[in-house]
């Protein structure tokens, strides 16, 4: 594992060192027709023209046609005022100049964002709501599969779209303008935390809010002018030290670590899954990438593997979770001590492991067993428990893990793990028991018994004043009287007491859950 990854880091570093800012020779840009575009568009769409006018592209002599020119054979080529152009400038188009960024972006979780959820979309967007929501919701972040119609127009169900995993007519995946707002393509803008907010906000991945509620976010806000956001090169620890932004940790250059447009490369864990797993990053010969759970054997270099899109690729390099973590940690080390960094990561890992072991794995196992026994229909979201489970891991669980990953105590706890716990004990388990009915003790209790983390439920008498009730302290006289008999009985029954209490707790929970389920059913019928 070590050597291939070292190779990857060195390769990336070497590429960065060698690569000029752009790979296309300047004599190749500055299309002669560009001036005509600008003359008319300055009048027809002055906003975008003005943005371009103040851009680095304009200063370098790159005009409309340099990016929008197309070959007549291109699927989405149109004839516009005598020129053959394409409306969509795909990563492949940007990659004519920005080749390194294209290669890094290819196969990243960003580029694959459409494919990653394409199987899930019908359940939520088509069944639960309606197809209109795919265009206006899902696809605006995850990217659409852009359809060019026979009359040359772009299907409005798939365009406009700047989702980051957009599948473009030329087959390339991604949308550079998702982060680099057109037509200024400002470096400073893309380095802002706000560059990520359109998608990384909301209940499932409130990363903007998490960042803002962290010390990093506080300091960024207070010292934004010291961030040097417009710098030509922007290496943490060298060109700025005030605070990190999203870019800094997930893709930015820091010390000896080169920048990368593979935003997920430094992530050791999957955090947006029912159960978090540590992952290998597999890089294929053709540049595509794939993440695999680290509990399997790593694929061998040169071996064949099925890629995310179903095609077969040849493995070039594999990076293990330790190495990915190491790269992320090296960013931290620009400002923090080694022990500080390691211990922070330990705190983060402990939260993920807590979530996995106490909630994620049991909840997932309970759902499996209910499906396997036909107690839930395979159709998603036709039963209340399915929403409960979905929100447990997808919203609350993801928030908790993201909060811990980025040091927002509020999101780790109140917006995160507190809600996970509340959901698990007050909604998920009662509903699951109601669904299981008489089989609850056979199907659900053994799952809970696999960890000792739910044993606290077996001590219902353990009082705490948090909810305003502690049993009154009994007087000495009262406790003395008959104490002998009580002690004898207690001694005899000691072993059984906890079991009986647990059973009581389970029974009462079941009753409660039945009432709950009845209410829910009533609601559903309405």
């Amino acid at each position: 594992m070590k050597h291939p990854m070292l190779f990857l880091v060195l390769l990336a570093a070497a590429t960065l060192a060698q690569a000029a800012k752009v790979t296309l020779d300047p004599s190749e840009w500055g299309h002669p027709e560009g001036e005509n575009c600008v003359s008319c568009h300055a009048k027809a769409s002055p906003g975008l023209t003005e943005q371009w006018r103040h851009s680095a592209h304009q200063q370098a002599g790159v005009n409309c046609m340099d990016c929008h020119q197309a070959d007549p054979a291109d699927v989405d080529a149109i004839t516009h005022e005598g020129q053959v152009i394409a409306t969509i400038v795909s990563p492949k188009d940007c990659g004519r100049c920005h080749q390194t960024e294209l290669e890094e972006q290819t196969g990243s979780v960003h580029a694959e964002a459409h494919l990653i959820i394409s199987e899930r979309v019908p359940a939520l967007a088509h069944n639960l709501t309606g197809p209109a929501m795919q265009a206006a919701g899902c696809d605006q972040c995850h990217g659409s599969r852009v359809e060019v119609r026979g009359d040359g127009s772009l299907d409005p169900a798939t365009w406009p779209n700047s989702g980051i995993g957009r599948i473009n007519p030329d087959g390339s995946k991604g949308s550079c303008s998702s982060c680099h707002g057109r037509h200024a393509f400002s470096k400073a803008q893309a380095r802002e935390p706000d560059a990520c907010v359109r998608c990384h906000s909301g209940p499932d991945s409130p990363d903007k809010e998490v960042f803002e509620a962290s010390k990093h976010g506080m300091i960024y806000k207070a010292q934004r002018e010291a961030m040097n956001l417009g710098a030509d090169t922007w290496i943490a620890g060298q060109h700025y030290t005030a605070a990190p932004t999203c870019v800094t940790c997930h893709m930015g250059a820091a010390g000896k670590i080169p920048s990368t447009h593979d935003v997920g490369m430094r992530n050791a864990w999957s955090l947006n899954t029912p159960v978090s797993v540590q992952q290998y990053l597999v890089v294929f010969e053709d540049g595509d990438k794939l993440e695999l759970p680290a509990d399997q054997d790593p694929p061998k270099r040169g071996s064949e593997l099925t890629k995310a899109d179903g095609s077969i690729g040849i493995v070039k390099v594999v990076a293990g979770p330790d190495r990915r973590r190491q790269i992320m940690s090296m960013v931290c080390l620009e400002c923090h001590a080694k022990n500080f960094t390691t211990s922070f990561m330990d705190q983060f890992d402990a939260v993920v492991e807590l979530y996995n072991g106490k909630f994620g794995e049991p909840a997932s196992a309970i759902m499996q067993v209910l499906y396997q026994n036909g107690l839930l229909t395979p159709l998603p979201f036709d039963e209340p428990l399915e929403f409960t489970y979905w929100e447990l891991w997808h919203d609350e669980g993801a928030r908790a893990r993201h909060g811990a990953a980025m040091a927002s105590p509020n999101h780790a706890w109140w917006e995160g793990m507190y809600l996970v716990g509340r959901n698990f004990y007050s909604r998920f388990l009662p509903r699951a028991r109601a669904v299981a009915g008489d089989a609850a003790s056979e199907l659900i209790d053994p799952v809970l018994a696999q960890t000792n983390q739910h044993e606290w439920l077996a001590s219902p008498d353990a009082a705490n004043p948090i909810l305003g009730w502690s049993p009154p302290v009994e007087s000495d006289g009262a406790s003395d009287a008959g104490s002998g008999a009580n002690e004898a009985a207690a001694g005899a029954e000691e072993a059984e007491t906890s079991n009986a209490d647990a059973a009581d707790a389970a029974d009462s929970a079941q009753e409660e859950s039945k009432a709950d389920a009845a209410n829910s059913d009533g609601g559903a019928d309405d």
Partner: protein, 209 residues
């Protein structure tokens, strides 16, 4: 005193023929005027069923429903001005009639849509060759003000050396790409999807005719 005398070859018969011919010519001119007028009307064009598909889109376009109440008829755009050119256009136009009678079944909506791109390309060529003369019957480039701030500037500064249809296509009838970027396979696939045909059916229809 000079006595005016008709040349000897102007006999009574010749004189009669000249008068009759002259009158006939005038009558013929009136006939052509009426003929062109009639054959430029929507009623005449739509007397072929195949033209009703073009009419569907036309009726939804601003050239049919303009806020000012001006309505452009088929002939206003597709027949040149002046008796000579109008007659010429109609004479050439008889080839459409021949194709309608002996060519593919343009009355079939599938066949009609499949052949539409070629018709659109030919129409655009026709407009370009005439420097969009029929557009200019109503639209004067220097008078275009538009509702947006810079429409006038675009039409004076950026439209120099261009003719109307260089920029303004797909205004009235169903959208068809320019010839240069037109893709027959994609068009066929669109038609197949629209009419619920099997993949490849469109190509078979095109080949069979």
């Amino acid at each position: 005193m000079i006595k005016l005398r008709a040349p000897l070859f102007i006999t009574r018969h010749v004189l009669f023929a000249l008068v009759a011919g002259g009158l006939g010519g005038v009558v013929f001119m009136f006939f052509l005027l009426e003929f062109d007028h009639f054959t430029s009307s929507n009623e005449f064009c739509l007397s072929c069923h195949s033209m009703t598909y073009a009419d569907d889109f036309y009726q939804r376009s601003p050239h049919y429903n303009s806020p000012s109440g001006v309505r452009a008829s088929c002939g206003d755009c597709h027949v040149s001005e002046g008796i000579i050119m109008a007659t010429y256009d109609h004479a050439v136009g008889t080839k459409d009639l021949i194709k309608q009678l002996f060519g593919p079944d343009y009355d079939d909506p599938v066949v009609n849509t499949l052949h539409l791109p070629e018709a659109a390309f030919a129409a655009r060529d026709w407009f370009r060759k005439r420097d969009s003369a029929t557009c200019k019957r109503c639209h004067a480039q220097e008078a275009i003000m538009g509702t947006r701030a810079n429409t006038a500037a675009i039409h004076t500064e950026d439209a120099q050396g261009k003719t109307c249809v260089d920029c303004h296509i797909n205004l009235v009838h169903r959208q068809v790409p320019e010839r240069q970027t037109f893709k027959r396979d994609a068009w066929n696939a669109m038609v197949e999807e629209e009419f619920g045909l099997e993949p490849g059916a469109a190509a078979a229809i095109m080949a069979g005719e």
